[in-house]
Amino acid sequence: MRAPEPASAEPIIVMEHVEKWYGTFKALYDINLAVLKGERIVLCGPSGSGKSTLIRCINHLETYEKGEIRVDGVLLGNRTVAIDAVRREVGMVFQQFNLFPHMTILQNCTLAPMRSLGLKKAAAEDRARRLLDRVKVLEQAEKYPAQLSGGQQQRVAIARALCMQPKVMLFDEPTSALDPEMVKEVLDTMIGLAEDGMTMICVTHEMGFARQVADRVIFMAGGAIVEEAPPQEFFTAPSHERTKKFLGEILP
Amino acid sequence: MGQAEFHFLLVGLKWTVILSAAGFAFGGVAGLFVALARTSGFPALERTMAAYIAFFQGTPLLMQLFVVYYGLALIGIRLEAWVSVSIGLTLHASAYLGEIWRGSIEAVPSGQREAAEALSLRYVARMKDVILPQALRISLPATIGFLVQLIKGTSLAAIVGFTELTRAGNIISNQIFEPLTVFGVVGVLYFVICCPLSIIGAQMEKKFAASGR
């Protein structure tokens, strides 16, 4: 096991007093969170606890009613300009991959760099091939998503997000929709990314992954952050009852 | 437009309903046989039925009504216009309903047929008790959708010269020279019949879509 590299003291994401309602249902309660550059955070908690909602607020896929979110110094309000700027800096990987079925793997990876970053086709393709090679699916570049396995598709989704050269990567249960035998290849890719110093926030139930790479594990329940601690402490000496109960349910 | 004119339209409406009911009822019976033949497993029969369906789905209803109307007269069968139109609508409906129901029969999971066969049910029992009830349920939204299409289709009897609702409208319109009022009222009368059916069909589709998953 490797020693975690120290994260820099500069926060890249700051959430202050963020609250969100769906109608009368309160989905997020007073969320305060600062993520440092290079920090790797695992978010866990029972389903419906608001962890996906929280990370989806960071790139404004969800709106929120109260509080502030800053990404790399940019205040994320409702201004389109700010939202665009943030989305270019923040990559996201989804549970259902969400590859575009009508484009080849290569086109999936070049679309956004060409459209939002204004890269030329050749430069975008170069970059895409390099990153597809890194996630070990380069030989599939000319195929369509439906022709790939779930694990390959998810690795392409990671490469597609990386093609925007984001400063932060968000993972929303990236292995939950995968067949068991494909979970490892995706986790290995994520571990590689962590080792290269990427700032990551991962919603996942893969506690082995949390132990291995996380700087901090955050436990959410009922829309609030209940507990946060380094993995060592989180798994051996959780302080809250709900955390203990949750760990009792998911750990073997 | 006075009361007498409106009454004339209502008489036309009565004939529209009769034509629709006749076409749907007889077309339904014939359509069931078309669907069964189309899924019978006998290649020659299936291909014949496929051609029958393709013919009626590839030609205008108006042509079908013309050909039946003049064709029957040609071979010496003199029928009242509404009977002739009903025959045309029946043939038309049998092809469309046959195709809708073929799709529904094929949409019943094949395990159902296999289970019925494993229970040694013969063709009639297998179809009547196992496959068709499920197929009927699947087909209901499309069947109701076609009924609406058929009701609207009866308006073409007007071009053949039979006085149902649309032709009644035409006649009144020529008498009182208020085409917009008259065809507006005619449209409302069709709408009053068709819209409830459309709503029922749409609701069923929603319900099935929700429960089907």
Binding site: R87 | T59, P60, L62, I75, S155, L156, S173, Y190
Partner: protein
């Protein structure tokens, strides 16, 4: 049965029948194009946040879908002059076909767009694409692919209903045939021949759609 079939008036009238076929094709294709325009515009209004537009579109769609095309074509034929628009029967028929086809197209296109999983839009937005870019590059093609079968059958129905335009004497196969029939009294022969022309025309339209689908809209799916 002492009646003898006599196709000679049909053969003599063949040139005008073929021109009638062209008229039918013209009506059908112009009607479809107008229908698509109305369909796309209607979807835009239908899903706009301005409530009155939504109700207007919903009302329009329901009125068209629940009344006969023949009544619609009469209504439009008489209504256009009232609105100060004077059109010949053939353009009037195209307007009626477009309005009718457009109402169905609105529902079909909406269904197609809604059938595209929400995650596709989210993935596009998360990559920093704008809403219009997401629609253009991510939603459009899969949505078109999803609606193509129902769009094809709807436009075949539109093609067949061009024959109803004969009621206002638009230039197409059925009205040409009616002229030949009224001169020769060979009704059955004329209309029987027409059915084959219509079969060929609807087959051509179907092939055209299949070709478009294969050329522009195919990609592997699970």
């Amino acid at each position: 049965m002492d009646y003898k079939l006599d196709f000679s008036p049909v053969i003599a009238g063949m040139p005008s029948l073929l021109l009638g076929c062209l008229g039918t094709l013209t009506l059908a294709i112009c009607g479809m194009a107008l229908g698509m325009l109305i369909g796309v515009g209607g979807v835009f209004l239908r899903d706009s946040s301005f409530k009155p537009f939504r109700w207007l579109v919903i009302g329009f769609v329901e009125i068209i879908r629940n009344t006969p095309f023949l009544v619609q074509i009469f209504f439009i034929y008489f209504a256009l002059p009232f609105a100060g628009i004077r059109l010949n029967p053939t353009p009037t028929a195209i307007v009626a076909l477009g309005v009718n086809g457009g109402a169905y197209a609105i529902e079909i296109i909406r269904g197609g767009i809604n059938s595209i999983a929400r995650g596709q839009t989210e993935a596009g937005l998360a990559l920093g694409l704008h809403k219009a870019e997401v629609f253009r590059f991510i939603i459009l093609k899969p949505a078109l692919r999803a609606i193509f079968p129902s769009l094809t059958s709807q436009f075949i129905l539109l093609t067949l209903s061009t024959s109803i335009a004969s009621a206002i004497s638009a230039y197409e196969l059925t009205s040409v045939s009616q002229r030949i029939e009224s001169e020769s009294f060979r009704s059955f022969e004329v209309y029987f021949t027409d059915t084959f022309f219509y079969l060929i025309i609807s087959w051509m339209i179907m092939r055209l759609f299949a070709l478009i689908s294969a050329r522009l809209l195919s990609y592997p799916v699970k």
